[in-house]
Symmetry: C2
Subunit: 308 residues, 2 copies
């Protein structure tokens, strides 16, 4: 079992979808990644920051999932990072109503000393400067560094982002961002260019259209499970990354063949995440449910044609 | 080996894409469907109409692929159906510049007498009134009727379209059209409603995002092969339908399990169609190329996770 370090936001989210709205609820990239990895009963530490307005109940929840939160700093009299967003109609695009950086503005990550030689480092969506700092704090180069990022950092911190990308093994990025990063419309071409920038493995997330894994000339595709209803897409990409990382940590094989399974597990967990608001569905997820859905993924994609 | 009757347009297309433009070239739904079925060396008759401006060379091409064109009527002094269209940037949406119905306006289909008991009837995109007439001309109810249609007929001939839909076994339709037909955004819900309208099998085509096959509570998904470059999407949907129908005609099993393979073959052939203008790529397609791509489809989608 590999150990994981997860850096990213731990946040309050206020979400509105066509199906309803929430007050401030638990959110953040590191939260979703952590909850997803915890499904695999692996040993993971969260590196993040919150304010003293962050409820003990949420801290207890993270601890109850066996996440090490000793490096989840609580800033006295500080306010937790807050994001508020709206999804309209098709849920494919979201509008950010408000972002308050709060304690994140001055965040200095501190990887716990007993995790500085962890095998897997997951850089959740966050300022690339912080992601770089975490890489530098590792005493042993991790066997696998996984990066998730977004267009915001391409627009505001291009050079630091390129520096992070050069140092990671796997990048997960959505289709529009892959195009923006490479100026290539074809995702095949985009993935090729991104590999030249550093990562040996490129995962392009296409939301309801699934995810593609690229490595050299090889491609694997995992569909999203067709659902009757997507309730709230918040955290789906982070949950995908967490499922991906958690499966790899559990199975300890960082090959293309095994990453196929990791992509399926990422899609599997993400398909639950979107069924309820925020982290709600992930909190009640059982192993039996995940196994049943794995069976659905098999039925959805596996076929028997004789090759001649 | 089942026999096929294919009804649809045989046409001139003038196409412009970001990669170039063509004069009037061979096109039409029945043409693409016919060329795709011919890959399987099945016995198929085209039912359609052209004008005397239609070159002998194109007729010879269809004949050379063993397509029975005795019911491809040539109207003396008539002009062949003409469509002109433009694809911009992302190739996902197309603009129709011109449509000339010409000889299609008065088309009276005549299924050849020796094909009136064919096992498979493919109703390519065309006026639903003509599709109904062809169904009625069959002396024996076909074992499988496959319908392809589009939004134009929903907007202009709703009641006739509903009547056709009620009589078919399989419908192939794109995602936006499925939503328009059912007023359901969720494709799972849309497919359920379409099944209630008649077809036991519903194929929803999502272009570069693949195709979904629905039957009762079962779902199968075939991705589109990720290509470096899509040159011209014209005819991809028809080629998909032709590959689907041709595979079923060859294998003679109209089960959900076998339709999974048919969907893969449809996606396989469509992935070639888009590589060149019009029917160009389909004319040179070899069995070896298709088998190689089948291998790529397997690599793209098949994974090995133990179910526990």
């Amino acid at each position: 079992m590999s150990r994981l370090v997860i850096v990213g936001t731990v946040a309050f989210d206020a979400i509105e979808t066509p199906f309803g709205k929430t007050d401030k609820i638990l959110g953040g990239a590191a939260t979703y990644i952590g909850l997803a990895t915890s499904y695999f009963h692996v040993d993971a530490a969260l590196v993040s920051v919150v304010g003293s307005d962050f409820p003990q109940e949420y801290l207890d929840l993270l601890k109850s999932r066996n996440l090490d939160i000793s490096a989840l700093e609580v800033i006295e009299n500080g306010k937790t990072f807050f994001w508020s967003g709206l999804y309209q109609n098709d849920l494919n695009s979201r509008i950010t109503r408000e972002t308050q950086l709060n304690v994140l503005a001055d965040f200095k990550p501190q990887v716990p000393s007993e995790y500085r030689d962890a095998e897997i480092l997951v850089l959740g969506n966050l300022h690339p400067g912080i992601q770089l700092e975490v890489i530098q704090q590792m005493s042993v180069k991790p066997e696998l560094i996984i990066l998730d990022t977004m267009n915001f950092w391409m627009e505001h911190t291009w050079y630091q982002l390129i520096e992070v990308i050069a140092q990671v093994d796997v990048i997960t990025i959505n289709d529009e961002e892959a195009r923006q990063l490479t100026k290539e419309y074809s995702l095949v071409e985009a993935a090729r260019k991104i590999q030249e920038m550093g990562p040996r493995f490129v995962v392009i997330k296409k939301g309801e259209h699934g995810a593609l894994l690229f490595h050299k000339e090889q491609i694997f595709f995992a569909p999203a499970l067709p659902l009757k209803e997507v309730f709230d897409p918040t955290g789906a990409g982070d949950t995908f990354a967490g499922g991906f990382a958690g499966y790899l940590a559990k199975s300890e094989k960082y090959t293309f063949e095994n990453m196929k399974n990791a992509v399926i597990y990422g899609s599997n967990l993400a398909s639950f995440c979107v069924e309820k608001f925020g982290t709600e569905r992930m909190q009640t997820l059982t192993s039996k449910e995940v196994q049943q859905r794995l069976y659905q993924f098999k039925n959805l994609t596996q076929f028997e044609i004789e090759l001649t």
